[in-house]
Amino acid sequence: MNGTLRAMLRLFAVQGTWNYERMLGVGMGYAAEPLLEDLKTVDPVRHGEAVVRSAEFFNCNPNLAGLALGATARAEYEAVPGSQIVRLRTALCSPLGAMGDELFWAGLVPGLVGAALVAVVLGAGWWAIAGFLLAYNGIRLWTSYWSLRTGMASGMKVGSAINASWLPWAIERVGPAAAFTVGAAVPVVAAWYLKGFGWSVGLGAAAVAMAGVALTRWFGPTLTTVRFALAAMIFLLVLRRVNP
C-alpha cells in the first residue's frame, strides 16, 4: 500500500485523539506519518521537525483535512521554511472548517437524512437506509481522495486551488437542497406517527411541537429541545402521580 493511500485511510480516524488543546493535531500527525516517510532517508533532521509540526494544534472539518495534510507534506519536501508551513496550517483552519461544516454538517448530512426519512416513511425501508449510507460515504470517500491529491499537488498554493475548485459551487447548492428535504421530512414524519390517533391527539402533539420551538428559541442554548422534552416528560409523570 502506498503512502498516499495509507494517509487517506488514516484520515478517517483524524479525530481519534480529539481534545481541547491540539484538537485534530495528533490525528493529523498520525495521518502525516506515511507521507513523510521518504523524508526520513533524504533529510532526517528535517523529517524530525516535520513530524513535530504535523502533530501541533490544528482544527478544521475532518472531511477536508486532506487539503491541509497534502499541502503541508508537499511543503516539507520542498524545504519551505518551517515558520511558513506553520502559518499555512494556521491559515487553513478557519476556511477549511467553515467550508467543510457548510458542505457536510449543514448541507449533505441533513439533506440526505431528510431524504432518507421521507423514503423510510413512504415504505422504502432498508433501501432508504442503505441509499443514505452509500450516498454519504461515496461522496465523502471521493472528497477525501480529492482533498489529499489537491493538497499534495498544490502545496503552498492550496488556497488558490480551493478557490478554483468545485467546493464553493457545491456549498452554494447543497444548503438549499438540505433545507428542502428536511422541510419535506417534517410533515411526512409527523403524519406517519399521528395517523392513527385522531384530531385531538394530533393537535396535542402539534401544541407540544409549537411550545418546544417557541420556548427553546426564547431561552436560547440554556433550553435545548432535549431538555425541553425531558422536562415535559417529568412534568407528565409528576402530574400523573399527583392526580392519578
Partner: protein, 231 residues
C-alpha cells in the same frame, strides 16, 4: 434482566460500541445516526418496527445538532441502541408502538445527554495523555503519535461500550419497575414526537437563517404536506 439471548446481547453491545466510535473518532460513516443505529438494533432484536419508530424520533432530535468547532452535543448512537432494546423487549412486542415509544425515547434522551458528558471526559483524558507525552512529541517521535492515536481510539471505544452496557443495565431495571397505564404511556409518546418535531424545525430554521434557504425550506414543507396527504 432483558429477555435477549447472549448472542443478541453481545451483538447489541458491539453495535453500541461501534456507533459510539463512529460519532467522532472513526470512521464517521454516519452509522451513529439514530436512523441507522436504531434500524440495525431493531433488526438485531427482531423488531424492525421498534427500531425504525424509535430511530426516526431520535433522528429528528439529532437534526438539531450542528457539530461545528468545539461545540458540545449529545451522543445519540449508543442511546438509540439501548432505547430500541428497551422498546422491543421491556414492553413486549404485543404492546402497540404508541405505548412503547415514549418511555424508550425518554431513556434514549437521558443516555444521549450522558454520552455528551462522556465525550468531554474522553477529550480531557486525551489532553492528559498528550501532556504526558509532550517531551516525545517535541522530539518528533512518530511512535509517540501512534500510541496517542491508538490510546484515543481505545478510550472512545470504551466510552461507547460503557455507555451501551450501563444503558442496558438501566433498561433492565426500568423493565422491572415499569407499570405504565395506557394513557400515560401514550401521553409520553406524544410529548416525545412533539419535541422531536420541534427539534427538527429548530435545526432547519437555524441552518436556513434569513437567507434564500428559507424559501427552499418552505417549498419542502409544502411538498411534504402533499406527500403526507397522498401517502
Amino acid at each position: 434482566m432483558m429477555d435477549f439471548s447472549l448472542p443478541v446481547l453481545i451483538a447489541l453491545l458491539l453495535w453500541g460500541t461501534l456507533v459510539g466510535l463512529d460519532l467522532v473518532s472513526v470512521p464517521q460513516g454516519m452509522i451513529a445516526r439514530p436512523l441507522v443505529a436504531g434500524s440495525v438494533a431493531g433488526w438485531l432484536v427482531g423488531d424492525i418496527e421498534a427500531g425504525l419508530r424509535i430511530g426516526v424520533v431520535l433522528e429528528l432530535f439529532a437534526l438539531d445538532v450542528l457539530p461545528v468547532g468545539a461545540v458540545r452535543y449529545p451522543d445519540y448512537g449508543p442511546a438509540t441502541v439501548v432505547a430500541v432494546a428497551l422498546g422491543a423487549d421491556a414492553l413486549g412486542a404485543n404492546t402497540p408502538w404508541a405505548e412503547r415509544l415514549g418511555f424508550s425515547v425518554a431513556l434514549g434522551l437521558v443516555l444521549a445527554v450522558a454520552g455528551e458528558w462522556s465525550l468531554q471526559v474522553v477529550r480531557r483524558w486525551n489532553a492528559r495523555a498528550i501532556q504526558r507525552r509532550a517531551a516525545a512529541l517535541a522530539a518528533g517521535e512518530s511512535r509517540a503519535i501512534r500510541k496517542l492515536q491508538y490510546g484515543g481510539l481505545l478510550r472512545d471505544g470504551l466510552r461507547g461500550f460503557t455507555l451501551t452496557f450501563l444503558g442496558m443495565v438501566i433498561a433492565s431495571a426500568m423493565k422491572e419497575m415499569l407499570h405504565l397505564d395506557r394513557q400515560l404511556a401514550v401521553a409520553l409518546t406524544l410529548v416525545a414526537i412533539g419535541s422531536a418535531l420541534a427539534a427538527a424545525v429548530n435545526g432547519a430554521f437555524r441552518s436556513s437563517g434569513r437567507t434564500a434557504r428559507l424559501k427552499w425550506l418552505a417549498a419542502g414543507v409544502g411538498v411534504g404536506i402533499i406527500l403526507a396527504v397522498v401517502a
